[in-house]
Protein backbone atom coordinates (compact mmCIF):
# COMPACT_ATOMS: atom_id res chain seq x y z
CA UNK A 1 0.00 0.00 0.00
CA UNK A 2 1.21 3.43 -0.95
CA UNK A 3 0.75 4.91 2.51
CA UNK A 4 3.33 2.50 3.95
CA UNK A 5 6.17 4.12 2.05
CA UNK A 6 7.71 6.60 4.53
CA UNK A 7 9.01 8.99 1.91
CA UNK A 8 5.69 9.05 0.15
CA UNK A 9 3.81 9.62 3.40
CA UNK A 10 5.95 12.65 4.06
CA UNK A 11 5.32 14.01 0.61
CA UNK A 12 1.56 13.45 0.85
CA UNK A 13 1.48 15.34 4.16
CA UNK A 14 3.50 18.18 2.65
CA UNK A 15 1.28 18.40 -0.42
CA UNK A 16 -1.83 18.17 1.74
CA UNK A 17 -0.73 21.22 3.72
CA UNK A 18 0.50 23.08 0.66
CA UNK A 19 -2.85 22.36 -0.98
CA UNK A 20 -1.73 20.59 -4.15
CA UNK A 21 -3.21 17.33 -2.87
CA UNK A 22 -6.80 17.65 -4.03
CA UNK A 23 -10.01 15.81 -4.58
CA UNK A 24 -10.49 12.25 -3.30
CA UNK A 25 -6.78 12.02 -2.40
CA UNK A 26 -7.22 14.95 -0.03
CA UNK A 27 -10.22 13.33 1.69
CA UNK A 28 -8.31 10.05 1.91
CA UNK A 29 -5.39 11.75 3.62
CA UNK A 30 -7.75 13.34 6.16
CA UNK A 31 -9.33 9.96 6.94
CA UNK A 32 -5.96 8.30 7.44
CA UNK A 33 -4.48 11.15 9.48
CA UNK A 34 -7.34 10.87 11.96
CA UNK A 35 -6.07 7.51 13.17
CA UNK A 36 -2.40 7.77 12.22
CA UNK A 37 -0.46 9.86 14.73
CA UNK A 38 2.77 9.82 12.73
CA UNK A 39 1.02 11.13 9.66
CA UNK A 40 -0.64 13.79 11.78
CA UNK A 41 2.72 14.81 13.23
CA UNK A 42 4.06 15.20 9.71
CA UNK A 43 1.03 17.30 8.80
CA UNK A 44 1.52 19.54 11.86
CA UNK A 45 5.21 19.93 11.01
CA UNK A 46 4.23 21.55 7.72
CA UNK A 47 1.31 23.51 9.14
CA UNK A 48 3.50 25.26 11.69
CA UNK A 49 6.14 26.04 9.05
CA UNK A 50 4.18 26.94 5.94
CA UNK A 51 1.47 28.67 8.00
CA UNK A 52 3.87 31.51 8.57
CA UNK A 53 3.70 32.44 4.91
CA UNK A 54 0.18 33.72 5.55
CA UNK A 55 1.64 36.75 7.29
CA UNK A 56 3.05 38.19 4.09
CA UNK A 57 -0.49 38.80 2.79
CA UNK A 58 -1.82 42.31 3.30
CA UNK A 59 -4.78 42.29 5.74
CA UNK A 60 -8.18 43.31 4.34
CA UNK A 61 -10.98 44.26 6.71
CA UNK A 62 -14.14 42.28 5.93
CA UNK A 63 -17.52 44.05 5.71
CA UNK A 64 -19.37 44.27 9.05
CA UNK A 65 -22.22 42.22 7.59
CA UNK A 66 -19.90 39.17 7.67
CA UNK A 67 -19.77 39.41 11.45
CA UNK A 68 -23.54 39.87 11.69
CA UNK A 69 -24.13 36.84 9.56
CA UNK A 70 -21.62 34.80 11.57
CA UNK A 71 -23.43 35.76 14.79
CA UNK A 72 -26.71 34.56 13.34
CA UNK A 73 -25.19 31.24 12.29
CA UNK A 74 -23.80 30.72 15.77
CA UNK A 75 -27.12 31.61 17.37
CA UNK A 76 -28.94 29.20 15.07
CA UNK A 77 -26.44 26.45 15.88
CA UNK A 78 -26.69 26.97 19.63
CA UNK A 79 -30.43 26.55 19.77
CA UNK A 80 -30.33 23.08 18.21
CA UNK A 81 -28.93 20.94 21.05
CA UNK A 82 -30.80 22.87 23.75
CA UNK A 83 -34.28 22.10 22.52
CA UNK A 84 -34.31 19.22 20.15
CA UNK A 85 -37.86 19.11 18.83
CA UNK A 86 -39.80 15.86 18.79
CA UNK A 87 -40.62 14.47 15.40
CA UNK A 88 -44.01 16.16 15.08
CA UNK A 89 -43.20 19.34 16.93
CA UNK A 90 -42.74 22.45 14.82
CA UNK A 91 -39.23 23.86 14.70
CA UNK A 92 -38.53 26.56 17.29
CA UNK A 93 -39.01 30.01 15.84
CA UNK A 94 -35.73 31.94 15.70
CA UNK A 95 -35.63 35.05 17.87
CA UNK A 96 -35.32 37.41 14.93
CA UNK A 97 -38.52 36.04 13.41
CA UNK A 98 -40.40 36.72 16.62
CA UNK A 99 -39.02 40.22 16.55
CA UNK A 100 -39.84 40.72 12.92
CA UNK A 101 -43.42 39.65 13.65
CA UNK A 102 -43.68 41.96 16.64
CA UNK A 103 -42.27 44.87 14.66
CA UNK A 104 -44.66 44.18 11.79
CA UNK A 105 -47.50 44.28 14.31
CA UNK A 106 -46.02 47.48 15.72
CA UNK A 107 -45.97 48.99 12.24
CA UNK A 108 -49.67 48.19 11.85
CA UNK A 109 -50.35 49.84 15.21
CA UNK A 110 -48.45 52.92 14.06
CA UNK A 111 -50.48 53.06 10.86
CA UNK A 112 -53.76 52.64 12.74
CA UNK A 113 -52.80 55.27 15.30
CA UNK A 114 -51.74 57.69 12.61
CA UNK A 115 -54.94 57.23 10.65
CA UNK A 116 -57.10 57.53 13.78
CA UNK A 117 -55.29 60.68 14.69
CA UNK A 118 -55.96 61.99 11.24
CA UNK A 119 -59.65 61.14 11.11
CA UNK A 120 -60.37 62.33 14.63
CA UNK A 121 -58.60 65.61 13.95
CA UNK A 122 -61.03 68.54 13.97
CA UNK A 123 -59.16 69.92 10.97
CA UNK A 124 -60.03 66.89 8.87
CA UNK A 125 -63.18 67.50 6.86
CA UNK A 126 -65.85 65.02 7.91
CA UNK A 127 -66.75 64.46 4.27
CA UNK A 128 -63.25 63.35 3.26
CA UNK A 129 -63.45 60.16 1.26
CA UNK A 130 -60.99 57.37 1.88
CA UNK A 131 -59.88 57.35 -1.72
CA UNK A 132 -58.81 60.98 -1.63
CA UNK A 133 -55.11 61.50 -0.97
CA UNK A 134 -54.65 63.36 2.29
CA UNK A 135 -53.04 66.80 2.15
CA UNK A 136 -50.35 65.80 4.64
CA UNK A 137 -49.50 62.23 3.79
CA UNK A 138 -47.68 60.04 6.27
CA UNK A 139 -45.35 57.27 5.14
CA UNK A 140 -44.22 54.28 7.17
CA UNK A 141 -41.22 52.04 6.68
CA UNK A 142 -39.72 49.10 8.40
CA UNK A 143 -36.06 48.27 7.85
CA UNK A 144 -34.25 45.32 9.38
CA UNK A 145 -30.50 44.71 9.23
CA UNK A 146 -30.09 41.33 7.51
CA UNK A 147 -28.90 38.50 9.73
CA UNK A 148 -29.61 40.41 12.91
CA UNK A 149 -32.58 41.39 15.04
CA UNK A 150 -31.84 45.10 14.67
CA UNK A 151 -34.66 46.96 13.01
CA UNK A 152 -36.41 50.28 12.84
CA UNK A 153 -40.01 51.22 12.38
CA UNK A 154 -40.34 54.72 10.98
CA UNK A 155 -43.06 57.16 10.16
CA UNK A 156 -42.32 60.14 7.94
CA UNK A 157 -44.26 63.28 7.35
CA UNK A 158 -42.43 65.12 4.55
CA UNK A 159 -44.97 67.95 4.60
CA UNK A 160 -44.15 68.70 8.23
CA UNK A 161 -40.49 67.89 7.74
CA UNK A 162 -40.61 65.38 10.61
CA UNK A 163 -40.05 61.70 11.15
CA UNK A 164 -40.09 59.40 14.14
CA UNK A 165 -38.23 56.14 14.49
CA UNK A 166 -38.55 53.26 16.93
CA UNK A 167 -35.56 50.93 17.26
CA UNK A 168 -35.99 47.26 18.13
CA UNK A 169 -33.83 44.17 18.49
CA UNK A 170 -30.14 44.01 19.13
CA UNK A 171 -27.23 45.19 17.12
CA UNK A 172 -24.12 43.02 17.60
CA UNK A 173 -21.66 45.88 17.64
CA UNK A 174 -18.13 45.29 16.49
CA UNK A 175 -15.75 48.21 16.40
CA UNK A 176 -16.96 51.78 16.63
CA UNK A 177 -19.43 52.97 14.04
CA UNK A 178 -22.81 54.60 13.48
CA UNK A 179 -25.77 53.69 11.32
CA UNK A 180 -26.94 56.51 9.12
CA UNK A 181 -30.32 56.86 7.43
CA UNK A 182 -30.54 58.14 3.86
CA UNK A 183 -33.41 59.29 1.69
CA UNK A 184 -32.71 58.12 -1.84
CA UNK A 185 -33.80 61.07 -4.00
CA UNK A 186 -33.52 61.20 -7.80
CA UNK A 187 -30.39 63.31 -7.25
CA UNK A 188 -28.83 60.72 -4.96
CA UNK A 189 -28.81 59.90 -1.24
CA UNK A 190 -29.69 62.71 1.19
CA UNK A 191 -28.56 62.31 4.80
CA UNK A 192 -31.40 62.25 7.32
CA UNK A 193 -29.56 61.38 10.51
CA UNK A 194 -28.01 58.75 12.73
CA UNK A 195 -30.35 55.96 13.76
CA UNK A 196 -30.77 55.05 17.42
CA UNK A 197 -29.99 51.43 18.35
CA UNK A 198 -32.65 51.47 21.07
CA UNK A 199 -35.67 53.49 22.11
CA UNK A 200 -37.38 56.12 20.05
CA UNK A 201 -36.24 59.30 18.37
CA UNK A 202 -37.63 61.99 16.16
CA UNK A 203 -35.58 63.83 13.61
CA UNK A 204 -36.25 66.59 11.10
CA UNK A 205 -36.54 65.75 7.42
CA UNK A 206 -34.81 68.15 5.03
CA UNK A 207 -37.50 70.47 3.64
CA UNK A 208 -36.53 70.00 0.01
CA UNK A 209 -37.47 66.32 0.07
CA UNK A 210 -40.61 65.49 -1.85
CA UNK A 211 -42.11 62.04 -2.01
CA UNK A 212 -42.65 61.47 -5.69
CA UNK A 213 -44.82 58.42 -5.95
CA UNK A 214 -42.95 56.85 -3.05
CA UNK A 215 -39.92 57.07 -0.81
CA UNK A 216 -36.85 54.87 -0.76
CA UNK A 217 -34.74 54.77 2.40
CA UNK A 218 -31.37 53.18 3.04
CA UNK A 219 -29.19 52.57 6.07
CA UNK A 220 -25.42 52.59 5.74
CA UNK A 221 -22.66 51.79 8.18
CA UNK A 222 -20.53 54.86 8.80
CA UNK A 223 -17.68 55.96 11.04
CA UNK A 224 -18.84 56.99 14.49
CA UNK A 225 -20.69 60.29 14.23
CA UNK A 226 -21.81 59.74 10.65
CA UNK A 227 -20.44 60.00 7.16
CA UNK A 228 -17.63 62.56 7.00
CA UNK A 229 -18.42 63.41 3.36
CA UNK A 230 -22.19 63.91 3.44
CA UNK A 231 -22.62 60.87 1.18
CA UNK A 232 -22.66 57.19 2.19
CA UNK A 233 -19.10 55.93 2.62
CA UNK A 234 -19.71 52.52 4.21
CA UNK A 235 -21.65 49.44 3.12
CA UNK A 236 -25.43 49.74 2.76
CA UNK A 237 -26.93 47.43 5.38
CA UNK A 238 -30.51 47.62 4.16
CA UNK A 239 -32.70 49.67 1.88
CA UNK A 240 -36.43 49.65 1.32
CA UNK A 241 -39.54 51.68 0.56
CA UNK A 242 -41.65 53.81 2.86
CA UNK A 243 -45.30 53.32 1.94
CA UNK A 244 -48.06 55.85 2.28
CA UNK A 245 -50.13 55.03 5.34
CA UNK A 246 -52.34 58.08 5.64
Amino acid sequence: MKYQNAKLRRMLAAEYVLGTLRGPARRRFERLARTDAALRAEQHFWETRLGRLARAVKPVTPAPTVWLSLQRRIEAGNTVPLRRPKANQPKPVPMWRIWAGMAAAAAVVVVVMLSQQRFSSPLAPATATVAQAPATPVYVAQLRVPDSTMQWTMSLSPTHGQMTVIAGGNYPQIGQHSMELWWISPQGPVAIGLLPTQGQASMPLPKELVAQGGITLAVSLEPQGGSPTGKPTGPVLISGPAVQAA
Binding site: L18, F45, R55
Partner: protein, 196 residues
Protein backbone atom coordinates in the same frame (compact mmCIF):
# COMPACT_ATOMS: atom_id res chain seq x y z
CA UNK B 1 1.62 44.47 11.09
CA UNK B 2 -1.51 44.39 13.17
CA UNK B 3 -1.99 43.32 16.76
CA UNK B 4 -2.66 39.70 15.78
CA UNK B 5 0.93 38.92 14.89
CA UNK B 6 2.32 40.77 17.90
CA UNK B 7 0.25 39.06 20.56
CA UNK B 8 0.27 35.27 20.32
CA UNK B 9 -0.12 34.99 24.11
CA UNK B 10 -3.22 37.14 24.13
CA UNK B 11 -4.73 35.15 21.26
CA UNK B 12 -3.97 31.88 23.05
CA UNK B 13 -5.86 33.18 26.10
CA UNK B 14 -8.78 34.22 23.90
CA UNK B 15 -8.92 30.74 22.35
CA UNK B 16 -8.99 29.20 25.83
CA UNK B 17 -11.86 31.51 26.83
CA UNK B 18 -13.76 30.72 23.62
CA UNK B 19 -13.60 27.00 24.35
CA UNK B 20 -15.55 27.86 27.53
CA UNK B 21 -18.23 29.59 25.44
CA UNK B 22 -17.05 33.18 26.00
CA UNK B 23 -18.71 35.20 23.23
CA UNK B 24 -16.86 38.38 24.12
CA UNK B 25 -13.53 36.61 23.64
CA UNK B 26 -14.81 35.34 20.32
CA UNK B 27 -15.65 38.89 19.20
CA UNK B 28 -12.17 40.02 20.27
CA UNK B 29 -10.51 37.20 18.36
CA UNK B 30 -12.56 38.12 15.29
CA UNK B 31 -11.58 41.74 15.63
CA UNK B 32 -7.88 40.85 15.96
CA UNK B 33 -7.59 38.21 13.25
CA UNK B 34 -10.39 38.58 10.71
CA UNK B 35 -8.56 41.06 8.47
CA UNK B 36 -5.47 38.81 8.27
CA UNK B 37 -7.53 35.78 7.38
CA UNK B 38 -9.76 37.72 5.00
CA UNK B 39 -6.73 39.03 3.12
CA UNK B 40 -5.44 35.47 2.76
CA UNK B 41 -8.84 34.15 1.67
CA UNK B 42 -9.30 36.90 -0.91
CA UNK B 43 -5.89 36.07 -2.29
CA UNK B 44 -6.76 32.41 -2.77
CA UNK B 45 -10.42 32.68 -3.72
CA UNK B 46 -10.25 35.94 -5.69
CA UNK B 47 -13.90 36.60 -5.02
CA UNK B 48 -15.21 38.65 -2.14
CA UNK B 49 -18.40 36.61 -1.66
CA UNK B 50 -16.51 33.32 -1.49
CA UNK B 51 -13.91 34.81 0.84
CA UNK B 52 -16.70 36.06 3.13
CA UNK B 53 -18.28 32.61 3.16
CA UNK B 54 -14.94 30.95 3.92
CA UNK B 55 -14.18 33.47 6.67
CA UNK B 56 -17.49 32.69 8.36
CA UNK B 57 -16.95 28.95 8.02
CA UNK B 58 -13.49 29.34 9.49
CA UNK B 59 -14.68 31.30 12.54
CA UNK B 60 -17.63 28.98 13.00
CA UNK B 61 -15.17 26.11 13.22
CA UNK B 62 -13.06 28.07 15.71
CA UNK B 63 -16.16 28.70 17.83
CA UNK B 64 -17.03 25.02 17.82
CA UNK B 65 -13.52 23.58 18.09
CA UNK B 66 -11.30 26.13 19.79
CA UNK B 67 -10.47 23.47 22.41
CA UNK B 68 -8.59 21.54 19.74
CA UNK B 69 -6.00 24.30 19.57
CA UNK B 70 -2.71 23.47 21.21
CA UNK B 71 0.61 25.30 20.99
CA UNK B 72 2.12 22.41 19.01
CA UNK B 73 -0.12 23.52 16.14
CA UNK B 74 1.89 26.74 15.89
CA UNK B 75 1.05 30.27 16.95
CA UNK B 76 -2.70 30.97 17.12
CA UNK B 77 -2.66 33.04 13.94
CA UNK B 78 -0.76 30.27 12.13
CA UNK B 79 -3.39 27.76 13.25
CA UNK B 80 -6.22 30.05 12.18
CA UNK B 81 -4.57 30.60 8.80
CA UNK B 82 -4.37 26.85 8.31
CA UNK B 83 -8.08 26.43 9.05
CA UNK B 84 -8.91 29.30 6.70
CA UNK B 85 -6.75 27.94 3.87
CA UNK B 86 -8.15 24.42 4.11
CA UNK B 87 -11.66 25.83 3.95
CA UNK B 88 -10.69 27.94 0.93
CA UNK B 89 -9.22 24.89 -0.83
CA UNK B 90 -12.44 22.95 -0.22
CA UNK B 91 -14.50 25.84 -1.56
CA UNK B 92 -12.29 26.03 -4.65
CA UNK B 93 -12.89 22.38 -5.31
CA UNK B 94 -16.62 22.90 -5.12
CA UNK B 95 -16.66 26.13 -7.07
CA UNK B 96 -13.64 26.16 -9.33
CA UNK B 97 -15.59 25.14 -12.45
CA UNK B 98 -17.03 28.66 -12.36
CA UNK B 99 -13.59 30.22 -12.44
CA UNK B 100 -12.05 30.75 -15.83
CA UNK B 101 -8.41 29.93 -15.87
CA UNK B 102 -6.21 32.25 -17.91
CA UNK B 103 -5.45 31.15 -21.42
CA UNK B 104 -2.01 29.99 -22.35
CA UNK B 105 0.27 33.01 -22.60
CA UNK B 106 -1.79 35.19 -20.27
CA UNK B 107 -0.61 36.33 -16.89
CA UNK B 108 -2.21 34.55 -13.92
CA UNK B 109 -5.12 36.58 -12.50
CA UNK B 110 -4.13 39.25 -10.03
CA UNK B 111 -5.73 39.18 -6.66
CA UNK B 112 -8.74 41.27 -5.85
CA UNK B 113 -7.23 41.94 -2.45
CA UNK B 114 -4.14 43.72 -3.50
CA UNK B 115 -3.43 44.34 -7.15
CA UNK B 116 -0.21 46.18 -6.43
CA UNK B 117 1.64 43.64 -4.38
CA UNK B 118 2.87 40.17 -5.13
CA UNK B 119 3.35 38.27 -1.89
CA UNK B 120 5.06 35.48 -3.79
CA UNK B 121 8.00 37.79 -4.21
CA UNK B 122 7.56 39.53 -0.86
CA UNK B 123 6.81 36.42 1.21
CA UNK B 124 10.26 35.37 2.14
CA UNK B 125 11.07 38.92 3.20
CA UNK B 126 8.18 38.92 5.71
CA UNK B 127 8.66 39.19 9.46
CA UNK B 128 8.76 36.28 11.86
CA UNK B 129 9.47 33.53 9.39
CA UNK B 130 13.20 33.30 10.14
CA UNK B 131 14.32 29.79 9.32
CA UNK B 132 11.66 29.31 6.68
CA UNK B 133 12.94 32.34 4.81
CA UNK B 134 16.49 31.03 4.81
CA UNK B 135 15.36 27.62 3.61
CA UNK B 136 13.17 29.15 0.88
CA UNK B 137 16.19 31.00 -0.40
CA UNK B 138 17.99 27.68 -0.74
CA UNK B 139 15.46 26.42 -3.32
CA UNK B 140 15.85 26.75 -7.06
CA UNK B 141 13.79 29.57 -8.51
CA UNK B 142 11.18 27.33 -10.13
CA UNK B 143 10.86 25.21 -6.99
CA UNK B 144 10.38 28.24 -4.78
CA UNK B 145 7.95 29.89 -7.15
CA UNK B 146 5.79 26.80 -7.57
CA UNK B 147 5.62 26.21 -3.80
CA UNK B 148 4.70 29.85 -3.12
CA UNK B 149 2.15 30.01 -5.95
CA UNK B 150 0.50 26.85 -4.66
CA UNK B 151 0.40 28.31 -1.16
CA UNK B 152 -0.88 31.79 -2.00
CA UNK B 153 -3.08 31.11 -5.01
CA UNK B 154 -4.32 27.66 -4.03
CA UNK B 155 -3.28 26.34 -7.43
CA UNK B 156 -3.50 22.68 -8.33
CA UNK B 157 -0.66 21.04 -10.25
CA UNK B 158 -2.56 21.70 -13.49
CA UNK B 159 -3.09 25.34 -12.65
CA UNK B 160 0.56 25.71 -11.71
CA UNK B 161 1.55 24.22 -15.05
CA UNK B 162 -0.64 26.78 -16.79
CA UNK B 163 0.61 29.71 -14.73
CA UNK B 164 4.25 28.74 -15.10
CA UNK B 165 4.04 27.68 -18.75
CA UNK B 166 5.58 24.30 -18.04
CA UNK B 167 4.53 20.68 -18.56
CA UNK B 168 2.51 19.09 -15.76
CA UNK B 169 5.18 16.50 -14.92
CA UNK B 170 7.86 19.17 -14.64
CA UNK B 171 5.74 21.29 -12.30
CA UNK B 172 4.93 18.30 -10.10
CA UNK B 173 8.61 17.55 -9.67
CA UNK B 174 9.38 21.23 -8.90
CA UNK B 175 6.80 21.12 -6.11
CA UNK B 176 7.99 17.79 -4.72
CA UNK B 177 11.69 18.54 -4.88
CA UNK B 178 11.03 21.99 -3.46
CA UNK B 179 9.12 20.55 -0.50
CA UNK B 180 11.66 17.80 0.02
CA UNK B 181 14.57 20.25 0.12
CA UNK B 182 12.59 22.57 2.32
CA UNK B 183 11.96 19.77 4.78
CA UNK B 184 15.61 18.75 4.95
CA UNK B 185 16.58 22.35 5.53
CA UNK B 186 13.89 23.02 8.15
CA UNK B 187 14.78 19.82 9.98
CA UNK B 188 18.29 21.15 10.29
CA UNK B 189 17.06 22.98 13.39
CA UNK B 190 16.44 19.63 15.16
CA UNK B 191 12.81 19.70 14.08
CA UNK B 192 11.65 21.71 17.06
CA UNK B 193 8.86 24.25 16.70
CA UNK B 194 10.34 27.69 16.30
CA UNK B 195 9.61 30.34 18.84
CA UNK B 196 7.38 33.12 17.62
Amino acid sequence: MSSATAEPERLTQLLAAISGGDQRAFAQLYESCSSHLFGLLLRILQRRDWAEEALQDCFLKVWQKSETYEPSRGAPLTWLSTIARYRALDLLRMKRPEVEMPEEGEEPPMTLADPGQDPVDGAIEGEGIGKLRDCMRGLQDEQRRSVLLAYYEGYTHQELAQAMHAPLGTVKSWVRRGLSRLRDCLEGVSGSVEKE
